[in-house]
């Protein structure tokens, strides 16, 4: 006799705009407060205090243009945000400051979220969609030097890059980039050579979001159709489709794998969050709280497994926080 799906642990209200991106920063020691960053359509970045469940600060750095990506760089004082004003801003939030220390002008009018990867202490790689239609540019932060520009070959009609993920298979090895494109294919790029290692057509529609599990070298991608595609990377650095999973309703905006690699959460256009077991894509739960399309899902990085949370931001201006499968 299956239990009915759980209710959210709590719901954060107050953004007064559709929530496009979420990022947890909860790994700090006491007396550090666990924090959730959210980016909204009205250009504001809200810093939520998860103890008081209220907004601590609201950052306005993108001039009322929608913020669609927020990431932290190392600690909750170093924030990176990307907005539709074609800028990526770097923030310094230490000691109550709220200032933009640096910004990158991407000249890209799309919606592709950038991807960050820490390669060494104080050194980051950031991949972002750049000015030309099918190009992805990789910069080194904080120096903002261009590492490489990844251009697909002539005639490969991939369309816009829709989602990016930088990863390093093992410490010190070459960083790789997984990019999902408008034509439904996922391409694995080698950054040092600037070449595509493998291309796999996963969907018939644009790839909306993807995530990758480094340990199992398995990845998952979602699109605007009814199918989730799970693919793997073999030893020859080739992508192969592992399996597909059919959904009840079409459209996925975001996918994320929990850091302990046990479960996967998807944010759907049908207002529902779906949880699957990562091992075999076993459907585990359908969380039905939101009344409009869910734009983003994110898992927290709590040190204690029992405190782990899942956050979902939706077009109905709410952020629902769930505590699910926290026993393991």
């Amino acid at each position: 006799m299956a239990l009915p799906p759980p209710d959210p642990q709590f719901v954060l209200r107050g953004t007064s705009a559709a929530v496009h991106t979420l990022h947890f920063c909860c790994g700090g020691q006491e007396p550090d407060v666990p924090v959730l960053f959210s980016g909204s359509e009205n250009g504001l970045i809200h810093v939520w205090n998860l103890k008081t469940r209220r907004v601590d600060t609201a950052l306005d750095g993108h001039g009322r243009n929608s913020v669609y990506c927020v990431e932290t760089m190392g600690s909750k004082d170093r924030l990176l945000s990307q907005g539709r004003d074609q800028r990526i801003c770097l923030w310094d939030l230490a000691e109550g400051r709220m200032s933009v220390t640096d910004s990158v002008f991407t000249e890209n009018v799309g919606f592709c979220r950038c991807s960050l990867l820490k390669v060494a202490q104080g050194r980051w790689l950031m991949a972002m969609a750049s000015k030309a239609l099918e190009e992805v540019q990789v910069l080194e932060l904080p120096s903002k030097m261009s590492v490489c520009t990844l251009k697909p070959g002539v005639g490969a009609k991939l369309g816009m890059p829709m989602c990016l993920k930088l990863c390093q298979l093992s410490c010190g090895s070459q960083p790789l980039l997984l990019a999902g494109y408008e034509d439904g294919s996922v391409v694995l790029w080698n950054l040092s050579m600037g070449k595509a290692l493998s291309q796999l057509i996963c969907h018939q529609e644009p790839v909306m979001s993807l995530d990758f599990d480094l340990e199992k070298t398995k990845g998952i991608s979602g699109s605007s159709e009814k199918v989730l595609s799970i693919w793997s990377l073999n030893e020859q650095q080739n992508l192969q489709v592992y399996k597909t999973h059919k959904l009840v309703n079409a459209g996925i905006s975001d996918i994320t794998i929990r850091p302990d690699k046990k479960i996967v959460a998807t944010a759907g256009w049908d207002h529902r969050i779906r949880i699957f077991g990562w091992k075999k894509m076993k459907p585990l739960a359908v969380l039905d709280y939101h009344t409009a399309t869910v734009h983003c899902v994110s898992f927290s990085d709590h040190k204690q497994p029992s405190e782990r949370l899942l956050a979902a931001g939706s077009k109905d201006h709410r952020i629902s926080i769930w505590s699910i499968y926290t026993q393991t």
């Binding site: 299956a2 075999k280 076993k282 359908v286 499968y325």
Partner: protein, 631 residues
């Protein structure tokens, strides 16, 4: 009677005389059941016996020929046997030819299919007789295609002729078909038209099947005629006649059975074969899964609520009206159509405000997207509106029935909706709960050419049955749910407007002319409304008006209409209280009685005769009942 094998030339004419006499006295079965198998055996390989048999039959006097031939055709086990026994009798003897090619086929229709098979097979087996086969086919087609025959001959005869046609077709060779292709085509076209014009579904089916078969034979390449109809037993039987099995040998049954068994066994074997390979790969996959399953301890939650996202239907009736009249959003339109009936029933007050408008919209509602059972949904919504606000909506619908520019479908729709609503209104509702148009069996289903009349006839029959038996003592009855009869106040509004204008033709609608299908449905509807009006105040007035209506139409040529008229009379006799019938309508009843007597004797349609007989019985019972009551 045993024949001895003599070597001498003997005269058999005496035997023929005996045979003829016996047959004409009606003893065909006894005589021939012994004679024919003997002769069949003897003539199988022996030519002399064959000629003796032919001679035997040739010598039968003219006046007894028919009886003998009929007997032979009926008892012969197959066409080849008949061929051996009769030889070319049909060619040589004029009487035999008349009996076999005209009388049996065109003037009688009580014989079984086997007889037809024997006869026509016999005609086809010899080159001398084949021209007769073609001639027979032409005559059959002439009868089949004649409009007056279709209208006036009983359905059984029409089925008989159809069977004969199909068997003939199955025997004809390519060359013969070639030679008369044009004639076949013309007769087929004419015949199809007459058959499709009929109101009885059985006649239409017969016409369609025969036309399809003819078309199949004459157009072996290229597109053939194909009709849409229900495959019932009759259709299957007719179609099976088109395929001729080769004449079977002496012991046909055993090899056939064996073959059937073999073929039956083979499919089952291959099925099980198919099943086992699919079973095999599944098992190893499952096993490999269970290996990994051991450390997957995440328990899924209940996901039964996870369904496809649907647009919500509007919650208010006025919103529904808006969506149905102008909305471009097809999802919303679909959701509205599905939710409409329950909204109407849940909000009677709101419905009464917009009832006529809703009725208008529903009458004109066309299918925009492909919804399952759209027609049923629309009808139920219409019935719901009509039962919630009967008088204005009934006035609207009945006025529209006689208006210009409606399709036949819409007019028949109006009639069906009126009947269903009347039924709902006249049945007692259980206290507190509204019955959601649970139409008890038998109900009127909305399908073109449906036999709603048959269902209602069943109900009327049951009612008649219950009335013709005398219930001895009152039984202790369970207290049934009761409530005021809601049909009482509105019965007149449903009934009288429908009767008013039936003889006034409009440019697009002529009940008494070519739209006799709608007239038939109208008459049946009136019968049902009359039946449901039992115990209402207006029932006597309705009865009188109905009887007058029936009187003017009683000689209508269409048998569906006549059946309806007779149902009207039944309903009237059952619903109007006996005292009122006797007091107010004595002359009309007497006239009706004499008309019914006429129908019982002379009407060509079996159903009409039966209904008329029932009505006469009802009238008898009425008389008896009133005589038994002390005045």
């Amino acid at each position: 009677v045993c024949f001895t094998l003599g070597g001498s030339d003997c005269s058999i004419s005496f035997v023929s005389h005996v045979l003829g006499k016996v047959c004409v006295h009606g003893r065909q079965k006894e005589m021939l059941s012994v004679l024919v198998p003997h002769l069949a055996e003897l003539t199988r390989s022996d030519c002399i016996w064959q000629r003796m048999c032919w001679r035997l039959l040739e010598c039968v006097p003219e006046r007894w020929m028919e009886a003998v031939l009929l007997g032979f055709v009926q008892t012969a086990p197959g066409a080849d046997v008949l061929s051996r026994l009769l030889g070319n009798l049909v060619v040589k003897n004029k009487k035999a030819q008349f009996v076999l090619t005209q009388k049996v086929l065109l003037l009688q229709y009580s014989h079984k299919t086997a007889v037809l098979q024997n006869l026509l097979g016999y005609l086809s087996l010899d080159p001398l007789r084949r021209p007769l086969l073609v001639k027979v086919l032409q005559e059959l087609l002439e009868t089949w295609g004649s409009g007056s025959a279709v209208r006036h001959s009983p359905p059984e005869q029409q089925q008989y002729i159809s069977k004969a046609i199909l068997i003939c077709l199955s025997h004809l060779k390519e060359s013969e078909i070639e030679s008369c292709r044009q004639e076949l085509l013309t007769s087929m076209m004419e015949g199809v038209k007459c058959h499709l014009d009929s109101n009885l579904p059985r006649i239409r089916h017969l016409g369609m099947i025969v036309a399809e078969s003819i078309s199949l034979k004459i157009n072996t390449d290229g597109p053939v005629l194909k009709f849409q109809y229900e495959e019932d037993d009759e259709a299957r039987e007719l179609k099976s006649l088109l395929v001729q099995t080769t004449p079977c040998c002496a012991v046909p049954s055993l090899p056939d059975e064996e073959e059937n068994e073999k073929t039956a066994v083979l499919p089952s074997v291959s099925d099980s074969d198919k099943r086992s390979p699919t079973a095999a790969p599944v098992v190893p996959a499952e096993e490999s899964d269970t290996d990994l399953d051991s450390d997957d301890d995440l328990v899924p939650y209940d996901m039964s609520e996870d369904k496809e996202l649907r647009t919500k239907a509007p919650l208010y009736l006025r919103d529904c009206i808006e969506v149905l009249t102008g909305c471009e959003n097809l999802d919303k339109w679909e959701a509205t159509v599905k939710a409409l009936e329950s909204l109407i029933r849940k909000n009677p007050a709101a419905t009464r405000e917009v009832s006529v408008e809703l009725a208008k919209i529903l009458l004109h509602l066309e299918e925009k997207t492909c919804i399952e059972s759209f027609v049923e949904l629309r009808q139920r919504a219409q019935v719901a509106v009509l039962t919630t606000d009967p008088i204005p909506v009934a006035q609207y619908l009945t006025s529209q029935f006689y208006s210009l520019n409606y399709s036949l479908r819409q007019r028949v729709d109006i009639l069906d909706v009126l009947v269903l609503a009347a039924q709902e209104l006249s049945y007692p509702k259980s206290r507190g709960k509204t019955k959601h148009s649970v139409v008890p069996k038998p109900g009127i289903q909305l399908l073109p050419g449906s036999d709603s009349s048959k269902d209602w006839r069943r109900v009327v029959d049951e009612r008649i049955k219950s009335k013709t038996r005398r219930i001895a003592t009152g039984q202790a009855q369970v207290e049934l749910p009761s409530g005021p009869n809601e049909f009482n106040s509105v019965a007149g509004h449903f009934f009288f407007p429908l009767i008013q204008h039936f003889d006034r033709p409009l440019t697009t609608f002529d009940l008494l002319g070519e739209d006799h299908f709608v007239l038939g449905r109208l008459v049946h509807t009136l019968a049902v409304l009359m039946y449901l009006a039992v115990n209402t105040v207006a029932v006597t007035a309705m009865g009188k008006a109905l009887l007058e209506f029936v009187w003017t139409l009683r000689f209508h040529t269409d048998c569906y209409v006549r059946q309806g008229l007779l149902s009207c009379v039944s309903s009237m006799l059952l619903s109007v209280p006996a005292e009122r019938l006797i007091e107010d309508m004595t002359e009309e009843l007497l006239e009706t009685q004499s008309w019914l007597g006429d129908v019982v004797e002379k009407d060509p349609d079996g159903d009409c005769r039966r209904l008329a007989l029932q009505n006469l019985l009802l009238m008898e019972n009425l008389k008896k009942k009133l005589q038994s009551v002390p005045s």
